[in-house]
Amino acid sequence: MTAARGSNEDTGDMDWATGEPAVFVSACIRCDRRWYLPRRWCPACGSEDVIRTRSSGVGQTAAVTVIYRRTGGDDPIGIALVDLDEGVRMMARCHLTTLVGTRVRLTFVSSEDPSWNGGLIPYCEELV
């Protein structure tokens, strides 16, 4: 587990959105609220006492889709909402055949869109 105090950065500076193969979960030290989309203040109590913790990357799919009509490429892609075991929900890529309610572990693959500066995207591998 790697932990980092909340910084003045708007977003985490070490997660997949900036090219590092990791997902981080934010937690409020004052009220214990947890969340995924980074922000400097707790969305529940407003506290600035926020800690960001590296997620285990394990969770369960809450929703899945296969997108056929899109602008970033011609091949269909799988998208899932994953409920991480740390208690937050995030969006990730998944296999075209992944179903709702599947246990998954996040890996990271290269983004096919070179214009996006992160370079990595989270991808669900099914746990058996």
């Binding site: 899945v64 056929y68 899109r70 709702v100």
Partner: protein
């Protein structure tokens, strides 16, 4: 609880309340006053009143809010009496003379309609056909719809003192209301561009009502229009709309708006053990409605098999589960007073904003129920009082989730209700009788406003072949983003009940 109505020294009616605030047994002592005096006195102090033969019924909510104060605050008593004294001059309340309301107690009174009070009046509406119609710019569509609405209301451009305009993705202008006002030659005191996604039209209606209620404006022009189909490439349109997703944590994954709604659909189907075919009936009903509207983009009949067989967009959503991208415009005029008998009252507005991004949405509490309940409470109505509805239907799943969270359909059964014709012209809830976004079309903000125009048209009984049998009260509801922003409005004819 006893309510005593009498005649004051000055000849005006008086009302007094005695006993506990137990709404289960309300008696009104007429003390020899005639029915009009009683109703007049009660209406003048803001109560919703029923007259049923010799019985008078009064809203429990009003009693609860008033009686405690009455007993504790002498100053309130004085103003109470003062209002009664001027009861005869309060014409707007007399419009509601036929109102029936017993708050929490259905029984006898539930057979008779209740009434809220007008917060503002929709005096004119304008709607263009929707479809792929190259040739007009976004502002041209807005001006076309605005001109229709003004003509319908009988107002000239010079009488407009506020202009509210929705954003257009093909323009991206910082000041859409100023842009349109200049184009039309209107110099309004208030000009406001509004941006709440698909809920923008109803959010503007809510603000228009607030402007006239607060006395800041008397005649508000609400407009939207866009060349969304012809003014940009389809890819550009998809990319623009995808930005309601999170810029760094959702959009880079390659998802788009159909994808976000498809995720909602997959969770929904999984939860209730349904198949895509179950949602398809919603699209079929919308198409059936559109067949009776010459302005609809798609009018060819379809069945559920055709919906499921159409090409996949974002599983489980197929092409015919998704609204088209269209060109067109819609507008309405909201005024402080009803200028003619065709005016339709807005009696309640509710809103709820619980999340922006799908990742943070609470699937069990998206905001639709809160918004609808707030609007109903403002209008002193229950869901059962609603005769017809216009509910946002960007995708079949959108309509299913909204209908179920608002309470129009039991959980998991919106599709089954559509299949059983519940949302048809003679069903229990005639819904989106113009064809909705799914078949009338969707040029952006104007798409959600078309539902308002259709409900006004129905309440005026001017819907021709689509006309539902004498509707009195309509609910319109829209969402923006990914069920992120919710706005609900209650529209009411507030007309006398024929004896």
């Amino acid at each position: 609880m006893y309510i005593k109505v009498g005649t004051g020294d000055d000849g005006g009616s008086t009302v007094s309340l005695e006993g506990a605030t137990d709404c289960s047994g309300i008696h009104i002592d007429r003390a020899g006053c005639d029915g009009a005096s009683v109703a007049n006195a009660l209406l003048a102090v803001g109560a919703a009143v029923a007259i049923d033969g010799d019985q008078f019924l009064i809203s429990a909510g009003w009693l609860r809010s008033r009686t405690g104060t009455l007993q504790e605050d002498p100053a309130w008593s004085e103003s109470f009496e003062a209002m009664i004294g001027s009861a005869g001059s309060r014409e707007p309340y007399l419009v509601a003379m036929d109102a029936i309301k017993v708050g929490d107690r259905p029984s006898e009174a539930s057979r008779l309609p209740r009434r809220g009070k007008a917060l503002g009046w929709i005096t004119g509406v304008g709607l263009t056909p929707f479809g792929r119609q190259p040739g007009l710019s976004a502002v041209d569509w807005q001006a076309t719809a605005a001109t229709k609405a003004l003509a319908d209301s009988g107002r000239s451009r010079l009488e407009v003192d506020a202009v509210l305009t929705g954003y257009a993705t093909t323009v991206g202008h910082l000041m859409p209301a100023n842009l349109l006002s200049e184009y039309l030659g209107i110099r309004p005191q208030i000009a406001l561009g509004v941006s709440v996604g698909g809920a923008t039209g109803l959010a503007m209606l809510g603000q228009a009502v607030a402007l006239v209620t607060s006395g800041q404006a008397r005649c508000v022009l609400v407009v939207a229009g866009e060349d969304r189909a012809s003014g940009q490439s389809r890819d550009h349109s998809i990319n623009t709309l995808a930005q309601v997703g999170h810029l760094r944590y959702e959009v880079p994954l390659g998802a788009n708006v159909p994808g976000y709604y498809a995720l909602l659909a997959s969770a929904y189907l999984h939860r209730y053990g349904l198949k895509a075919h179950d949602l398809a009936h919603i699209a079929v009903q919308m198409r059936r409605h559109a067949q009776n509207h010459p302005g609809a983009q798609y009018r060819d009949p379809i069945d559920a098999d055709a919906v499921v067989a159409s090409r996949p967009i974002a599983e489980p959503l197929r092409l015919l589960d998704c609204c088209p991208v269209s060109d067109g415009g819609a507008a309405f005029v909201v005024e402080e007073v009803a200028s003619d008998p065709r005016a339709v009252a807005v009696t309640g507005v509710g809103q709820a904003n619980r999340h922006q991004h799908l990742s943070e949405a609470d699937f069990g509490d998206l905001g639709a129920r809160r918004s609808a309940q707030a609007a109903l409470t403002a209008a002193s109505l229950d869901l059962a009082d609603i005769d017809i509805a216009g509910v946002y239907d960007s995708f079949t799943i959108t309509l299913a989730l909204l209908l179920e969270e608002i309470g129009f359909a039991p959980p998991g059964e919106a599709g089954a209700m559509a299949r059983s014709d519940a949302f048809g012209p003679r069903g229990s809830l005639p819904l989106n009788t113009h064809g909705g976004l799914l078949s009338y079309g969707h040029p952006g903000v104007a798409g959600g406003m078309a539902h308002v125009v259709e409900m006004v048209t129905q309440l005026r009984q001017e819907a021709g072949p689509r006309q539902v049998d004498r509707p009195r009260r309509a609910m319109v509801h829209a969402d923006g983003g990914v069920l992120s922003a919710h706005v609900t409005a209650i529209l009411d004819t507030l007309q006398e009940i024929p004896a």
